[in-house]
């Protein structure tokens, strides 16, 4: 059975790239355009892993991660932050919110897929 990955990013470009990369690697991809949208998807889906951006309208990545960790059905899912930022305090905020890992954009498709495989095996 294919693994399902939810990708949350407000940039259509990033969503398109992630969809391309992940579906090519054999994952089923769910897309959401911000945190609120992501939570809506999670109400009916239980992906094996979540990739999220930080800077997003309505509900940003930090808030989104917090809410996921508080949810009843997806609280243990690995969440990778995919952001252009590499600021230590931001990383720590993400960690405190409940992020599993942090990858800096732009990403290397092969390595991203490798990371997902290791976190979902």
């Amino acid at each position: 059975m294919g693994k399902t990955i939810l990708s949350v990013d407000d940039s259509a470009t990033m969503r398109a790239m992630l969809e391309e990369t992940l579906s090519e690697a054999g994952f089923d991809v769910l897309l959401a355009k911000d945190g609120v949208d992501g939570l809506e998807v999670l109400e009916r889906e239980t992906p094996q892993l979540i990739i999220t951006d930080i800077n997003m309208p309505r509900l940003d990545g930090f808030g989104f991660i917090e809410q996921v960790r508080r949810s009843s059905n997806n609280r243990a899912v690995p969440i990778i932050v995919l952001s252009t930022e590499f600021d230590e305090t931001k990383k720590e905020t993400a960690r405190n919110a409940g992020a599993t890992g942090w990858i800096v954009k732009p990403f290397d498709p092969e390595k991203l897929v490798g990371a997902i495989n290791r976190l979902t095996a």
Binding site: T13, E20, S71, R95, G101, V104, P106, F107
Partner: protein, 709 residues
Amino acid sequence: MSNQGIMQVFFDECDEQLSELESNLLALEGGEHNLEAINAVFRAVHSIKGGAGAFGMEELVRFAHTFETILDQVREGDLTPDATVLKAMLKASDVLTDLVRCARDGENVAVADVEIVMEQLNALNGTEAEKEIDESDDDFEIEFQPVPVCLDDIDCTDAGEFARFEISFRPRPMLYENGNDAVYLLRELRSLGEIEVQCDADALPTLDEIEPEGAFLTWQVTLHTNSDESKVREIFEFVQWDCDLSISAGNSLACGEAGIPDKVEAHLCNPAVGPADPGQFDAGSEHAETINSEAAVAPEKPSKSANIQATIRVNLERVEQLINLVGELVINQAMLEQQAEVAGLDRTSAICSGLNDLQKLTKEIQDGVMAIRAQPVKPVFQRMHRIAREAGEATAKIIRLVTEGETTEVDKTVIERLTDPLTHMLRNAIDHGLESPEARVRAGKPEEGTICLSANHRSGRVVIEIADDGAGIDREKVRSIAVARGLIEADTALEAEDIDNLIFRPGFSTAEQVSDLSGRGVGLDVVRRAVEKLGGRVSIASQPGIGTKITMSLPLTLAVQEGMLVDVADHTLVVPLAAILESLKPRSDMVNEIGLGKRLIKLQDSFVPLVDVAETLGFRKAGIDPTQGVALLVETPGGTRCVLLVDAIQGQNQVVIKSVERHFSRVPGIAAATILGDGRVALIADTEDLVAHHQSVPERIEPKLTAMG
């Protein structure tokens, strides 16, 4: 989706983000200091940077990063977005727009401009930021910072330096809460080399005491690897606060081990994470409980989601195809209706009432499909802000551009072709319409000149107005120029309105000195031409001392046209209604032969060339007697007036435009074709081309004749 496809998504997104960026900056400039606008501005730049980074557009990334740094300071409240800051930001948004365009078109970037603006931005930021930028440049080289993931490219058989690391880690509950697992970390370690793992379960409570969400195991790992310590640390980077960790280097299997232990000591334990600190461990458990209790509370329901409109991107070709099909459907429906009438079916019959419903539905589908192509004028209007800024700078005038009715929707093609005429009109208004600040003050007006750009729907058309509060048209000057250019005679009697409209005549340009800005000897006739090509009309109204208003009226769509159906030598021809000024039945005393078979028609006090349509299109060898036909007075987009002679008028109708050029080469005098209600094909006349094709009477004759009349 191909890489090209994603790139297209990126550029489309850039356009959206850039327009978002500008409108929010303008809102801030307008005094709206809300955080949401600042956040939106930040996100726009951030998104562009992210995408650009993915495609390796370094210039764009570098600039966006500098811009973003400033925006971040504003967002954090470290920098106040005052007039100077906003001005620099607007400039930066212009440069960003240019950079995106250059990246899309593969053009070279004017590096100097970029650097200047970049310096301006950095100046706002102070020296500290510059340092940060330098650092960040390096950071961009790092493509991937995997945590808790490591690079996979280690070859264990490589006969390099093998080192031994003793790793001890004890996950805290937090590590599991964050979706991680000791097994992931062990797997990562194994990817570096050979590992021996021991699990210490001493701390594991008995089953009746166990806290299910707690963490009780300690893992001892011995790793043999040719990677250095940083690689090992990297694996734990993201979890170092979520576990008690110690890493120590054992005996290296290769030489040169002497220095290693000291170096490792220095890195060893993070002071914040003392090995096996029971206090912290408990704190972790408590935290877990807090979270557990909160887990019962349902996550906040997003309430605003209803406000966000879902959109999809569709290839334009598909829409065009749909529009074409709907066009066919409309025609088909009309044919059915006609057939029903011919067959003498009772109006109350089931078939006829069914056809009635069909007609209503078809109309609704047609409107709905047209609406797909409709887009708000907002992006075009927004581009005007930049034009206004630049024109203001070039002319040293202070300008406030007010836009109204930005949500007014018009056909995509109309919008696309609107940019150039609008730009020209705006520049013209700034260059010639508005006075200099000093002159305005002398006239008792505020220093700042206001230009209002508005759009709205009026009786099935879109009306776009551009109004300035400048000096109005100097009619004396316009008149004398027109005389000097030979457009009118010195003694021609003209109404004020006629004088104003002279500025739309080809070859007219009021700028005594061709300015860099609005003119290169090109006048507003270009605007008029462009608008009329779209089936629109331009008019001007001016009041001395108060201002000038130029009004454009445009069709909502280019797919359907209002046309006059006329008979021409047994053919039905459609003449675009927008081109027709009036229709009349010529009397013999109105017709003047001027030799070579050319004729003029006298209308009021001017002579207008007569074009026999059937003859010009080659339907007939010789022209008919004008008194036997109907004359349509048309005005071409070029401003030339002409009378088209046709046999008879059938009526007025909305026609669906079908291009003929895909099947035939360009036919002189014919713009397109349509299918009539009875299924016959009718050609749509291109009035300008008809007149040009006929072109027997030189255009210049007209004003002289006017004067004679």
